[in-house]
């Protein structure tokens, strides 16, 4: 019996090429999207799960309550003391490991290169499951001058992985020190938040380990291992209790130094499960940990996949039911010759199964073909071989069965219910109201229109982020990293650089981002970012002043007494008259600084963050760690050569590398740019598949109405008139879809935009252009068939009746 069904199914597919193509191609694309996204989501969820002890590993994090706003600021980082002290005093904590980000200059042949690495405690390999290729888990990180490297790192360094006992020269301060390789570890899995090339033992001096003031200095990640089945809340409250007791003395002595500000440094301790870390937006995997991701992307992708698949299934249902007029005769005959309803249901399900099977195989081919592109766009290293995971295979089979049933069940039930007397005596018509078909088309186009409008919004917002004026000029600016020992060393380099003809100006600055707290005159405190610069910083970046004056060599006392602040700082401080106000920042022995100028707000951080208070100083005690070099336009290659030459002459033992600032800014929004493309693909696919379905329906509708069209033409209807009649019905549905989709898209877009402090305003043009696009595409799809039908010779169509 099944052979018979399959024979019919195959012949039906072969005979109705348009219909088969629409269904199979649509389903294949839908399934391929769903598969890709299952892969993606699976990878996201699988992060860090390979850690055998994952369920018992937690990261120590803090919630800091801002006294003024009452807002909770969550902080994923900790310092030297939290790990060891909590372990000693809380029985549930079995072990801890601290992971600190760092980099060392290492010798590779004659070259010196900058190597990023992690400083970790010797317990690292006991807690985390990174298998060693050689070396001993128990003691490979015990010696201070040991180094552990991955196979890849060993290959770049030595050309082989058999490197135990070999020496790597690393520069700590000014001299190169030999480090011995004690272990080689397998490369980190791509779905690991902890990724490294090299590990060094953490460097904690005896003084650091005993100084209780270090509770307040957060710069690394601390992980603890709890006894299985520990009560997290009780451990957290024990941590809190111990912390309060242990910091009592330190707070008293710090208060003497800095005043009441100290009270606001207090933290509330919490534990974040290792497995929650990857997708946490509040407490992300930063500072040595990598791969931090936003679950929003998983949601958006899943939504797209579901949309595309649903639309493909709707095509299937609609086309199958619409084609049922043709199939009805077969159904009637089968019933007459003895088939019961159940057998017919199985037959139609069998057909949808076959169709889905073909689509499924095609989808796997699509996935294989599109994986490189998708990996590139989503920043993943997914492979089809991931598919051979049992759970995932089960997921795909479920998806397949689900699709088969979703697409096949309704048509099977409807078609098998036809009465043979009606179908065999030409009394059968499917012209009726067709509410289901119509609502499905509406649903389809609602989804498509929604996605298109949402995509336009996302597209505009991301465009805005990448093109928005940052408040400074980042063109023709080269940045170089170099830790200068003194300001004078930096200025020496600056003066040498200025001798190069292609160079316009040079400004040193601190590296990374610094932030701290200060006491204002009126005893309130303020959190702010702060930069150590010199007088050339603002001019080099063309950052304008709003008030007052820049640092100047005409005022030698500037470096010791003066500061600049940005407009937000002034606003936060509530100053009416900022020039001449004083700021006392905490670690400076109650020394106060005077505001000499107000800098116009500029985006010193990502546009994803609101501009915060910012302060500029020239304090000699703060290091310069990088320089901004403005070069003349179109002199890049020559200037870069000259800069490198000067750098190598002055600092032969330092690694040299440069970055163009505008390139770096562009890279900062790489993720956004890629998501923009993913959304675009998704929207194109959705509208594409929707139109597939609409095209199929219009073909069938035109076929069904051949006689009507023939009669109308004989009675004198024009081609235009006929096209209008045929297109009108579908366009009406598309209009209804828009009426539903636009408000929904407006709500969703608004909600999404709230994630961005700097955002586009939702203008009507987005909705209008989205709607117009949908209508236009639908119109082209439908009218193509309508025109064909309208041009047909009526004599032919009427004669066959």
């Amino acid at each position: 019996m099944f052979k018979n069904y399959f024979k019919i199914a195959f012949r039906n597919l072969a005979r109705n090429k348009i219909y088969s193509f629409i269904n199979i191609a649509g389903l294949a694309i839908g399934l391929a999207c769903a598969m890709l996204i299952i892969l993606y989501v699976k990878d996201e969820i699988s992060y860090d799960r390979f850690q055998l002890n994952a369920d018992n590993i937690y990261r120590i994090v803090t919630h800091n309550v801002d006294k003024n706003g009452g807002k909770i600021h969550k902080e994923p980082n900790t310092g030297y003391l939290q790990g060891p002290r909590f372990m000693q005093n809380i029985p549930e904590i079995k072990n801890f490991v601290r992971i600190q980000q760092g980099n060392e200059n290492i010798k590779l042949g004659d070259e010196v290169k900058n190597q990023e690495l992690l400083y970790v405690d010797s317990s690292f390999f006991k807690i985390f499951s990174f298998p060693l290729v050689s070396g001993n888990v128990n003691n490979c990180l015990n010696e201070p001058l040991s180094v552990v490297m991955t196979e890849d790192a060993a290959r770049t360094q030595f050309g082989t992985t058999n490197v135990i006992g070999r020496i790597v020269m690393m520069k700590d301060d000014s001299v190169f020190v030999p480090h011995k390789v004690t272990a080689v570890v397998k490369n980190c899995p791509q779905n690991s938040s902890i990724k490294f090339d090299m590990l060094l033992p953490i460097r904690e001096s005896q003084a650091d380990a005993t100084n209780s003031e270090n509770w307040f200095n957060s710069f690394l990640n601390t992980f603890v291992v709890l006894n299985p089945h520990s009560d997290i809340q009780s451990v957290e409250s024990k941590m809190q209790k111990f912390y309060v007791a242990d910091t009592k003395d330190a707070i008293i002595s710090l208060k003497k130094q800095f005043g009441d500000v100290v009270e606001s440094w207090k933290s509330e301790y919490h534990l974040q499960p290792l497995l929650d870390m990857h997708l946490s937006t509040e407490l992300p995997s930063h500072n040595g940990l990598s791969g931090a991701s936003n679950p929003m992307y998983s949601y958006i992708l899943s939504g797209i996949a579901l949309f595309v698949l649903l639309i493909a299934c709707i095509n299937f249902v609609n086309l199958t039911v619409a084609r049922s007029v043709k199939r009805s005769k077969e159904i009637g005959i089968r019933k007459v010759v003895g088939s019961d309803r159940k057998q017919l249901i199985f037959q139609f399900l069998g057909e949808s199964f076959l169709l889905c099977l073909i689509a499924f195989v095609m989808a796997i081919v699509f996935v294989q073909l599109s994986l490189p592109l998708f990996n590139n766009l989503s920043n993943k290293a997914l492979a089809l071989s991931y598919l051979f995971d049992i759970k995932l295979v089960a997921g795909y089979i479920l998806l397949f069965v689900f699709t088969t049933l979703l697409a096949g069940f309704y048509p099977a039930i409807v078609l098998s219910g036809y009465k043979p007397v009606k179908t065999l005596y030409n009394r059968f018509s499917n012209i009726g109201k067709n509410y289901l078909q119509k609502s499905l088309v509406v649903l389809q186009f609602t989804l498509a229109a929604f996605l298109i409008i949402a995509t336009l919004t996302i597209y505009k917002q991301f465009n805005f982020l990448t093109n928005e004026k940052l408040g400074y000029d980042d063109t023709d600016i080269v940045t170089i990293q170099k830790n200068f020992k003194t300001h004078e060393e930096a200025w020496l380099f600056k003066n040498e650089l200025l001798k190069i003809p292609g160079i316009v100006s040079v400004a040193p600055r601190n590296g990374g981002s610094w932030s701290t707290i200060a006491k204002l005159g009126n005893d309130s405190t303020i959190n702010f970012d702060y930069e150590t610069v010199d007088e050339s910083f603002l001019p080099v970046l063309k950052i304008p002043l709003a008030l007052g004056r820049n640092f100047s060599s005409d005022f030698p006392a500037d470096s010791a007494n003066s500061i600049l602040v940005n407009e937000t700082f002034v606003k936060k401080a509530g100053w009416k008259n900022p020039i001449g106000q004083t700021v006392n920042f905490w670690y400076n022995n109650n020394k106060t600084y005077t505001v000499i100028g107000v800098v116009k707000d500029y985006h010193f951080e990502s546009l994803n963050k609101k501009i915060g208070p910012q302060l500029f100083t020239m304090k000699p005690g703060n290091p310069y760690e990088m320089v901004f070099i403005k070069i003349k336009p179109n002199t890049a290659s020559g200037s870069l050569m000259a800069i490198q030459k000067t750098f190598k002459q002055l600092f032969p033992l330092n690694p040299y590398s440069y970055v163009f600032m505008n390139e770096k800014n562009r890279k900062a929004y790489e993720a956004e740019a890629k998501w923009k493309q993913i959304m675009l693909f998704g929207a194109i696919l959705t509208i594409f598949i929707s139109c597939f379905g609409l095209f199929g329906l219009s073909v069938l509708s035109a076929e069904k109405r051949t006689k009507e069209i023939g009669i109308r033409k004989v009675l004198g209807a024009s081609v235009n008139g006929v096209v209008t009649i045929l297109s009108k019905d579908f366009l009406k549905l598309v209009f209804i879809s828009l009426v539903i989709a636009i408000p929904a898209a407006w709500l969703a877009s608004n909600k999404w935009l709230e994630n961005y402090p700097y955002r586009i305003s939702l203008s009507w043009s987005i909705f209008a252009s989205g709607a117009l696009l949908v209508i236009l595409i639908a119109l082209i799809t439908v009218s193509f068939q309508a025109i064909k039908a309208a041009l047909a010779n009526p004599v032919k169509s009427l004669r066959t009746e």
């Binding site: 018979n4 019919i8 012949r11 077969e330 005959i333 007459v336 003895g338 019961d340 065999l424 005596y425």
Partner: protein, 220 residues
């Protein structure tokens, strides 16, 4: 074999009730060859479909092979029908996607007959109807007469006791029609009860009894 008592069938259009069949009383014995005649719209096909259990009636009693059809459930009716009745249509109603062989085989599939038995039965009937050479062709590749032959072969494959034919020669030329009617006579002689609907006096004459319908009533 067939007992119809006071069969009524109607459709409601608005407030009017239109009768398709009105008080039909009919008794048909096994081995008869009945021709139902009457003008268009007189209810011939409806009566045939009611007898064939393809259509339902609104009032009356119908006993088929001693089973009260009006009391049976859909499933039982289908089983009864599958076992005893074969149908032949004016428009042949073959499945276009299946070959001659597969079309004839279809009823057997639905009766759960083993594949080897099916082969033998189909081969047998192809032989009997002289269409062995056509077995791999699709219906559209055949002439009307040949298609109707296939239709009859399909109706007969499961050895029904009753053959219902709705204008079986209506789409055929006279020569083809004659052949079909000769075949019917032969089948009737072999013991198959036949009820045919026809417009043609000539074809009706092949039967042993003629029933005339007018406006849903049997004309006396």
């Amino acid at each position: 074999m067939i007992e119809l008592k006071g069969i009524y069938k109607w459709v409601n259009t608005g407030n009017n009730r239109t009768f398709l069949l009105k008080d039909i009383n009919l008794s048909i014995k096994e081995g008869e060859f009945i021709s139902i005649m009457g003008p268009s719209g007189s209810g011939k096909s409806t009566l045939l479909n009611v007898i064939g259990m393809l259509d339902e009636f609104d009032e009356g009693e119908y006993v088929f092979m001693n089973e009260p059809v009006h009391k049976l459930k859909e499933k039982q009716r289908a089983a009864l029908y599958k076992q005893y009745i074969g149908f032949v249509f004016q428009a042949y109603h073959l499945i276009d996607e299946l070959t001659v062989y597969e079309n004839i085989e279809t009823p057997l599939i639905y009766q759960d007959i083993k594949s080897s038995d099916r082969k033998a039965m189909v081969a047998d009937i192809l032989d009997r109807f002289n269409i062995v050479g056509k077995k791999d062709l699709f219906p559209t590749q055949l002439s009307g007469g040949q298609q109707q032959l296939v239709g009859i072969a399909r109706a007969l494959i499961a050895n029904p006791r009753l053959l219902l034919a709705d204008e079986p020669t209506g789409n055929l030329n006279s020569k083809q029609g004659e052949e079909i009617m000769d075949l019917f006579s032969q089948l009737n002689k072999d013991g198959v009860t036949i009820i045919q609907v026809t417009h043609s006096e000539k074809n009706a004459a092949y039967g042993s009894r003629i029933i005339n319908l007018l406006d849903g009533r049997v004309e006396k």
